[in-house]
Amino acid sequence: MTQSFRLESGGLINRDKKISFKFNGKNYYGYEGDTLASALIANGVHLIGRSFKYHRPRGFFGAGVDEPYAIVQLYRNGETEPNIKATEQELFEGLEAKSVNCWPSVNFDVGAINNFLKIFLPAGFYYKTFMWPKSFWYKIYEPFIRRAAGLGTASIKHDKERYEHKYEYCDVLITGSGPSGLASAYSAAKNGAKVILAEDKSRFGGTLLTSEVNIGNQSGKEWADSIISELKEMPNVTVKNRSQVFGYYDHNMLVMSERISDHLPKTKKYHPKQRLWYIRAKEVLISSGSIERPIVFGNNDTPGVMLSSAAKEYMKVYGVLVGKKPLIFTNNDSGYETAIEFKKNGVDPIILDTRKEPQSEIIEEAKNMNINIKNSYVVVAAQGYKKVKSADIAKISDDKEELGSVENIKCDCICVSGFWTPTIHLASQSGNKTKFNEEIDAFVPDISKQNEKTLGAANGIYTLEETLKDSFEKGNLLSKKITNNENKVSFPNVVEKKSTVHDKFWCVPLPKGKNYKRFLDFQNDVAVSDIEIALKEGYRSIEHVKRYTTLGMATDQGKTSNLNGLQLVSKIENKVVPAVGHTTFRPPYSPVSIGAIVGREVGKHSKPTRKSPMHSWHEKNNAVFVDAGVWLRPRYYKCGDENLFEASKREAKNVRTNVGVCDVTTLGKIDIKGPDAAELLNRVYTNAWLKLPVGKARYGVMLREDGIVMDDGTTTRISENHYHMTTTTAQAANVLSHLEYYLQLVWPELNVNVVSTTEQWAGAAIAGPKSREVLKKLFPKSDVTNEGLPFMGYMEGDLFGVKAKIFRISFSGELAYEVNVESDYGYFMWEKIIEAGEEFGIQPYGTEALSNLRIEMGHVAGSELDGRTIPYDNSLEGLLSKKKDFIGKRSLSRKAFAAEDRQKIVGVVPLDKKTSIPEGSHLVKDSNAPLPNPKLGYISASCWSVEYDNPFSLAILKDGKNMIGEKLFVMSPLKNKVIPVEIVSSHYVDPKGERVRS
């Protein structure tokens, strides 16, 4: 295809580099420096998609971030991405894009039938139409909305691209590189401030690229180029293009997304696709400029109707004509600049100006060029379905209420200018309340809440000279305050054409007998009639009108629609616009990819992976790992083709009959030192701690203030004022914070220090009737007999030259020990244990066997201490001291916690001794009772008892104390299971605890 709308010369594109791309399956060419939009327009393509609700044909409306329509699905390097603005997507070789919101194709769209069934989709259609009947939801409404809604399809593949996060500090952050951004950055940089200048587009300069001005005897673009190259040379300045500051958060933190590779066919090796910057700035200068406002008229969403500034930008930056028979519809002088540009490129435009007899330098120039100007004229409606073919125009009365006779003139595009709206999104996000400026009919920032100032057009200043003066000065003042350094820049001579006042006209009345749709919000298909309905139905608050009609919602955030919506509400309500107020602007200003937000925190990088020093041994010995919090722990060691069930049974059985060894490095460990250490333990644990002798361990339970069990574990008195506390793997961090809280805030008088030593020690549990034999071989010099190291005893030992801590504690319920050595010796210790245990049949066991062993012993763990149970529920009431107070004690006397029929832990065995009981199942009295069947309790943990060779579970059961021997049913609706069971003691194996003491 030829680029028949490309000008012979001009623009900032590189005509030496032709680029091929595909749109909706068709091949096209563009040039380096094009956007997808400019390249398509160069090829005469104006139909780019279908609208959200009515599936009306959609073209291009803007030339940048303000684009509400031209959203495509992009295909790049084997990946697909939705919600891409064609006006922002730079062209690269091999780019492929497709239309969204159309089915089966953009040219023939079934959904467009909605357009003729408007009654089906009035304002508030989400709320009204899809309310009833309920049965319609699944079959009709939901599939309909699914197909109709959305701005593309998210990829379901894993994203191979890399995204990064960066944290940065600066003195002054400047958002936008137009005249105000450049001037303020320059003066701030000259004063030595650390400056970040961010530009959303690929080219710096903003409006200087498209306006006919002169600064210091240079064209606007030349001046911008020279400032940028000077700034880039300065070590205190960071200049970033393709970088959108999209959010202004608390304490002057702003977030910026930098598109590093989106404009390339493929991300370069070692480069990220995008980078998200978290910038903490001392001062923020918002120089985001302004966006041209549309004028509302009939069928104003037809492809070919676009902002006049966009038409000018396509000519000046891309050398592209948006049409060859342009109609310019304007209420201010900006439309004339576009018309002049058309004329300069050999195209004859017609200007319709709503004003009666405007006079200015620019208008004079247009007249001198013999441009056809019709004053007091409006476009009544655009005609043409997939592209503008003509326009119905009419003269309008001075009071702007009456239309003259309608005539039809041929045209292929309508360039609209309804004056300018400052881009106040960032200022508003920062908490700035904003005020209405009557002169420009728009909101501008008011009093700053954070350290933010708005410059230039974003602040409603529309002349270049004033903008530059103000920006040089603000940049200078703010940076001087920070750096105490002044290096004033001399103000350049500025030449610009003077313009005259605009007309406050914004909406063309409907001609008699016509009912054209006049759109306010182009992205969400919100028309004048929708707002009228909403107000008729009683919606008043602008926030409610917004939600009811979807005006200004979604990715567009009302960039072009906001003010016209307010104008309409204020007109109908007979209120002034400031009394209506504007809706809240929310970040992001423009869509940000999920990948950029997530950054590198994906997959295994989402949290650190912690491994014990023995990890590589486990790997070598066929361990199958499981995530235990942030740790990786062996779940079981696979022998041959064993499965989890078989392996864990074998391992647990071996502990009960011979001896096993388990890696318990992950247990939380806290070192407690100081003369008041015992007192601290006595206050945070429920049992007594003041008389624990040196060399002894004790099991303790900790509560929260509300009486709920927080954690359990053993603590050992190593020496007079030194204790070694262990916590569960999951609660280690919380317990440390808990202790620090009480020590620092509640009992600062206690002389105690606590520090986490979890990583400092590697731990191995040696459990089973033959464990003492293994220990004897490991520590031949120590007396590890039952007398020398009794149950709950502690000693230090010499493990072939390595200092070790030996604790006689047991989780498995067997005779057992835990040996700790410094982490670096963990692997050595483990190998020695395996070596010494070989003759006794030692086998490593994983967390699954560990669970089996503790469950059949009735030892509680995380599944019982789940943040909902008190000590009584876990049969730990024997550990509650009556003699002393402790954290949480007072709560235990609350009525529900002291109830006679309080829930309690029990054992559960299936009557058939065969059927495994799913964890999380409910216990009920009658499995056939009508729903909702009263629930008596729930299964907290299940295992296969290796002792009795049948399934066994623990449950928390209402009135569990009196339920032993009862027959109940376990119900699992999820697994569709009903199992008759008997309630037994939770201490299923060795209820007297003889083995641990043997």
């Binding site: 608390d250 933190m253 908490g431 809440k449 620090e740 809280y741 600062p748 402790f886 007072r890």
Partner: protein, 89 residues
């Protein structure tokens, strides 16, 4: 993201801290008789103030100290930070 001045470490980002609730709540002394109502007030009942509020934060990924922060709950402005042992004035 808030910027909190830890009295021990200086200005740090919010993600280094964890929130710890109302700093004006005093834990009843251990071993002292207390009515159900007073105990419930200590454990559960908190005012949800709009405006200046003294609250606890722990500098978890820093010095691990609990600190007191006076913050406006509506605007997030932080007026003052104190060490754990400094009295709120």
């Amino acid at each position: 993201m808030l910027h909190i001045k830890c009295p021990h470490c200086g200005m740090r980002s919010q993600n280094e801290f964890s929130y710890g609730g109302d700093a004006t709540v005093k834990r009843p002394e251990l071993g002292k008789e207390i009515s159900d109502q007073d105990w419930d007030n200590f454990v559960y009942n908190r005012k949800s103030l709009r405006g200046k509020h003294w609250e606890l934060w722990q500098h978890l990924s820093g010095c691990r100290q609990w600190i007191k922060v006076q913050r406006d709950t509506a605007t997030h402005e932080i007026f003052k930070t104190l060490k754990a042992n400094e009295e709120i004035s």
